[in-house]
């Protein structure tokens, strides 16, 4: 007994979510292990017939059990007939397995008309002998019952139809009509048991549809006979939004996803979610893509984002998330890449007009078919429909860049849990296809800026946070990179301005107190510093001139001194020259005098030196 259902509702809610996650993880692991096992499929293993229905083959690990009947049950209008039809049509067209559609409710024409809106041309397939439509009309009023009988005629009709096209697939829609028409339930039940056995013997992969009963899977207990695979379809409305869900109740001999999977019916048939891979094994690119804002590129290691990465841009209202997104779009389109813009708040025209005001013309890219808008109100349809809608657009347009603006709008139509799962699937899909994605997220309040509403951060490779910086009675925009996996990103807060010529990231401006200066404060500080600088340069100039003047003065002084020195030098050398002349003339005089006095000629050096020693004396005498 599950005790959890007795817990208070709040508790059980959280338990349910926990269960849900656990189940999801288990399913994931199962898929991974199976994917490995599939490579070496042993001959004894259950063979599967692919349905071709988007997503279902992934949940069932390959399709419905081949050669066995499968029961599809659900209440009125949940898509049983369509499911069965798609199984047959895809079998006939894609997998080369012709089929027989035995209807107990609708005529062949009705069926053809009904499924034509989903893109199936039954008439053509019937004409190509790949499908037989046989209606078994059972009118209670026409029939009288007496005595024993069996349903051999049904077998014969079925066998005839199968043989006429070599069918491998059979649909019986809805066998339960027989219960209304035939009063003898004992015979009917015995015959149904025989019918399913017979189908198995013939190796038919069959789908039997049945109406859901109250408290039981089917109104008449058909699940008793068809026990190989039972799929339950459900159509539920919560908060005015209807969601179709599918659950594999049982699948004998095979593992399968056990969750309730949302599914959709649209113009291309049924799509079951998860649509794509559930693994974390996508390829990664080390190619970088330009963001369209040089400053932002610089912040992201100088080169921009990685191709195929997921980018979250969060911020409060009016911080410029959409504008920044437009830059990225413009840059991508400018490189010739295709983009899809999923808008949940503004219309295409409005976005184009608004972005023109900051100098970005997105209209030209739409014109050149590089940009596609898909604008819808979140409440237009359910979360799954949105997801599938996105998938379809992406598959058709094959963009390399996808924007969801803003992802938080989806909160109005689902719980956090649902949105997180939906986005996980979307991001998985995008990453597998190497598509760069940008999600904007509107956060409320200033306190928990670093908490995204839908807990997206772990899914994101790069997270850019935009915020208001409120200083000196004005609000300005600031931008910083909260995280960016695999690159050395800037840790600075940059001021981010929207001008009429695109966004500008101004340089970081720190005020005198070390705080970040933005807006008018930054301008004022800039002006103040400019003035100071000018004053300083004037002062410097003055000082330089002063110095020059001093130098000149000094030089002239030096020149004066030098000329004086030269003057003195000249004087002295003149004096010396004079003295020498006097000296010589004195000597000459002495010699002459000696000659006159008849003194001995100076013959020896000794005498001469003695003579010369007497010179001072003569000198002194002479100076008198």
């Amino acid at each position: 007994m599950n005790l959890r259902q007795y817990l208070p509702s709040l508790d059980s809610q959280s338990h349910r979510s926990a269960d849900f996650i656990a189940q999801w993880i288990i399913t994931k692991i199962r898929f991974m292990t199976r994917a490995r096992n599939n490579a070496s499929i042993s001959p004894g293993m259950l063979r599967k017939a692919p349905t071709g229905i988007q997503g279902l083959d992934e949940i069932t690990g390959g399709g419905l059990p081949e050669g066995r009947p499968t029961l599809i049950c659900g209440s009125a209008g949940c898509g049983k007939t369509l499911f069965a039809t798609e199984f047959l049509v895809r079998g006939a067209v894609q997998f080369g397995e012709p089929g027989v559609f035995m209807s107990f409710e609708e005529s062949g024409e009705e069926l053809t008309t009904n499924v034509a809106s989903l893109g199936f041309d039954l008439k053509d397939i019937v004409a190509r002998k790949k499908l037989v439509l046989d209606q078994v009309r059972v009118e209670r009023s026409e029939i009288e019952e007496t005595g024993e009988y069996d349903l051999e005629a049904l077998f014969i009709r079925l066998a005839y139809a199968i043989d006429s096209v070599g069918a491998r697939r059979v649909v019986l829609d809805t066998l339960e009509s027989l219960f209304a028409a035939l009063p003898n339930e004992a015979i009917l039940r015995a015959e149904l048991r025989r019918l399913f056995g017979w189908l198995k013997d013939k190796g038919m992969t069959a789908i039997i549809t049945a109406e859901r009963g109250s408290g039981t899977l089917t109104r008449h207990g058909l699940e008793e006979y068809v026990s190989d695979c039972v799929i339950l379809l459900d159509h539920r409305v919560t908060d005015l939004i209807s969601t179709r869900r599918l659950r594999i109740v049982k699948y004998r001999g095979s593992t399968h996803g056990t969750n309730e999977y949302p599914f959709l019916i649209d113009e291309s048939g049924i799509s079951v979610l998860p649509i794509t891979s559930l693994g974390l094994n996508h390829k990664v690119s080390s190619e970088r893509v330009d963001t369209g804002i040089p400053g932002l590129n610089m912040m992201l290691g100088g080169e921009g984002f990685y191709r195929g990465s997921s980018i979250l841009m969060s911020g409060t209202a009016g911080t410029g998330k959409s504008s920044l997104a437009a830059h990225l779009v413009d840059a991508a389109c400018g490189r010739g890449e295709r983009c899809i813009y999923f808008a949940f708040e503004e219309s295409e025209q409005q976005i184009i007009r608004n972005m023109r005001s900051i100098g970005i013309d997105l209209g030209r890219w739409v014109h050149r078919r590089l940009l596609q808008f898909s604008a819808s109100r979140p409440s237009a349809f359910g979360l799954e429909m949105h997801l599938v809608n996105m998938h379809r657009h992406i598959r058709q347009f094959e963009p390399s860049f996808v924007i969801v603006d803003p992802v938080t709008s989806l909160l109005t139509i689902g719980t956090k849990m649902e949105i997180q799962l939906t986005l996980t699937r979307l991001i998985d899909f995008l990453k597998t296809n190497q598509i760069t994605s940008l999600f904007t997220s509107l956060t409320h309040g200033e306190t928990n800026l670093e908490l995204t509403e839908v807990g997206l951060s772990s899914l994101m490779d790069t997270w850019i946070l935009l915020r208001d910086i409120e200083t000196s009675r004005e609000r300005n925009r600031g931008l910083y990179v909260l995280k960016s996996r695999g690159m050395a990103h800037s840790n600075q807060i940059r001021e981010f301005r929207l001008t009429d010529k695109r966004a500008q990231l101004t340089d970081v401006y720190l005020g005198p107190a070390g705080g970040l200066l933005v807006g008018a404060a930054r301008l004022a500080q800039e002006a103040r510093e400019k003035a100071e600088k000018r004053a300083r340069s004037i002062e410097l100039e003055r000082k330089r001139r002063d110095l020059e003047r001093k130098r000149l003065a000094l030089e002239s002084q030096i020149a004066g001194l030098r000329s004086q020195f030269e003057l003195e030098t000249q004087e002295i050398s003149q004096l010396i020259a004079q003295e020498e002349t006097i000296d010589e003339s004195f000597n000459d005089e002495r010699t002459e005098m000696a000659l006159l006095r008849k003194q001995d000629a100076p013959q020896s050096g000794r005498k001469r030196s003695a003579n010369s020693r007497k010179v001072p004396g003569t000198d002194g005498r002479r100076s008198k």
């Binding site: 078994v136 005595g147 005629a153 014969i156």
Partner: protein, 107 residues
């Protein structure tokens, strides 16, 4: 049993409406044989000379099953007089068969 076994026993009441009956069977199963015997007996009793029985063996002509919307074996179909009526089973209950065929008692 042959593919179509007409059994116009007597055709000597030109003014009376001829009842055209088709009995669908699948091979000679006990139920089929019993149904045929019961039908013959009832017709002889109630519609002597005014009936025609056609026996269709679906094993031989499976394509004929969809025309009259046959899904049970044996099935008796009254094609004329209109409207079409069907009786499934081996016709062992004469009363119900007569009600089903809407045969008025011939006095």
């Amino acid at each position: 049993m042959k593919k179509t076994k007409s059994k116009p026993t007597t055709k000597n009441s030109p003014d009376a409406e001829v009842w055209e009956l088709r009995l669908y069977v699948a091979g000679q199963t006990p139920k089929s044989i019993k149904a045929f015997a019961n039908l013959s007996r009832i017709c002889e009793e109630q519609l002597a000379g005014r009936y025609k029985i056609e026996v269709i063996d679906l094993l031989e002509n499976p394509q004929l099953a969809s025309g009259d919307q046959i899904f049970a074996i044996p099935t008796l179909v009254r094609t004329t007089p209109a409207p079409i009526r069907k009786i499934i089973g081996d016709l062992s209950n004469t009363e119900r068969t007569l009600v089903g065929l809407d045969v008025r008692k011939v006095s």
